[in-house]
């Protein structure tokens, strides 16, 4: 269980950066988009956004909203873009490695397919 939550938290940063790479978003929008795909504890996104802001990966600004008070939008910085690219690469390698382990046939040293 613990491992599982920690794992999700790690992926959360990648998801946030990837979403912001497409367009500027406000917090709720990102939560909405992410929880369509992964179940997350929605409250953890704000401390994460704060850290990303402190580290210079994103900036925030207020923008008027048609149906209510202004919302806090986040935008990816150049530094954030680099970070996102790096994380996407790492994720690609990692998931490919895991998929290989999960779905490829077990082979012996000669490359022959073993009986199950």
């Amino acid at each position: 269980m613990v491992m599982n939550t920690q794992f999700k938290k790690g992926v959360l940063e990648l998801c946030v950066l990837a979403l912001l790479d497409r367009k500027d978003c406000y917090g709720y929008e990102m939560v909405d988009e992410i929880s369509k795909n992964i179940s997350i504890s929605e409250g953890t996104i704000y401390p994460l956004l704060k850290r990303l802001k402190n580290e210079g990966f994103v900036i925030s600004y207020l923008k008027e909203s048609p149906d209510g008070p202004p919302r806090k939008y986040y935008r990816l910085t150049d530094l954030g873009k680099k970070k996102k690219d790096k994380l996407v690469d790492e994720w690609g390698e990692f998931s490919m490695g895991v998929n290989n382990l999960l779905y490829s046939k077990i082979t012996n040293n000669l490359g022959d397919i073993k009986d199950e």
């Binding site: 938290k9 929605e42 953890t44 401390p47 956004l49 008070p69």
Partner: protein, 198 residues
């Protein structure tokens, strides 16, 4: 839990943070509630999805304390940062705190030793100077001969200089040690949020 209860609970849990930061954080959660309500969710649903305010507050506090200890180095700010990070359960408090406390003690002891050397050196210098004049004041040297006074003077100066060097050296060691703790804490915060892929 409804919106008011949730925000009240969160406010209570982060009351130690400066007003500005607190308001900034609370406005994020207020905005979250507002938009959620617009989208037709109930306050209870939103609270539930946000997660336990305690967990949220712990994360906020750890983030804040480590940043503060980095910006404004002091013994109390680093202690708070360590405690806040420990609250997240990201490292075993005992394994981290014990070596930290021991090393801090050693550094402090060396500081005291340096101070004592400087103080002792000055005392010897003074006694060497005044002994020839006040024969009844016998602090460190036994006889009041001019030669032993000069010897005492040299020894005193030497001791004071050695103590000063130790003090200056220890300032550097202390600063390096502080930076090391900060780096360790930041690494841990990153790991818990990022859980780096391999």
């Amino acid at each position: 839990m409804n919106k008011e209860e949730y925000l009240k609970k969160l406010t209570k849990l982060i009351y130690k943070l400066p007003k500005e930061d607190r308001q900034d954080i609370l406005s994020d959660y207020e905005e979250h509630f507002m938009i959620g309500l617009e989208k037709g969710r109930t306050e209870e649903e939103i609270s539930m999805a946000l997660g336990d305010p305690k967990t949220v507050a712990k994360q906020i506090k750890a983030e804040y304390m480590v940043k503060k200890a980095e910006d404004k180095p002091s013994a109390s700010s680093i202690t708070r940062a360590i405690m806040a990070a420990a609250g997240l359960g990201i490292f075993n408090l005992l394994f981290f705190v014990l070596p930290t406390v021991v090393l801090t003690m050693v550094i402090l002891a060396l500081f005291v030793l340096g101070g004592a050397m400087v103080f002792g050196g000055i005392l010897i210098i003074l006694s060497s100077i005044f002994q020839p004049f006040y024969h009844n004041v016998q602090i460190l040297t036994n006889d009041g001969g001019i030669l032993s006074s000069l010897g005492g003077l040299a020894g005193g100066i030497g001791l004071a200089i050695l103590g000063s060097v130790l003090l200056v050296g220890m300032t550097y060691v202390a600063r390096w040690f502080y930076g090391l703790i900060i780096r360790y804490l930041k690494l841990n915060l990153k790991i818990i949020q990022e859980q780096k892929m391999v």
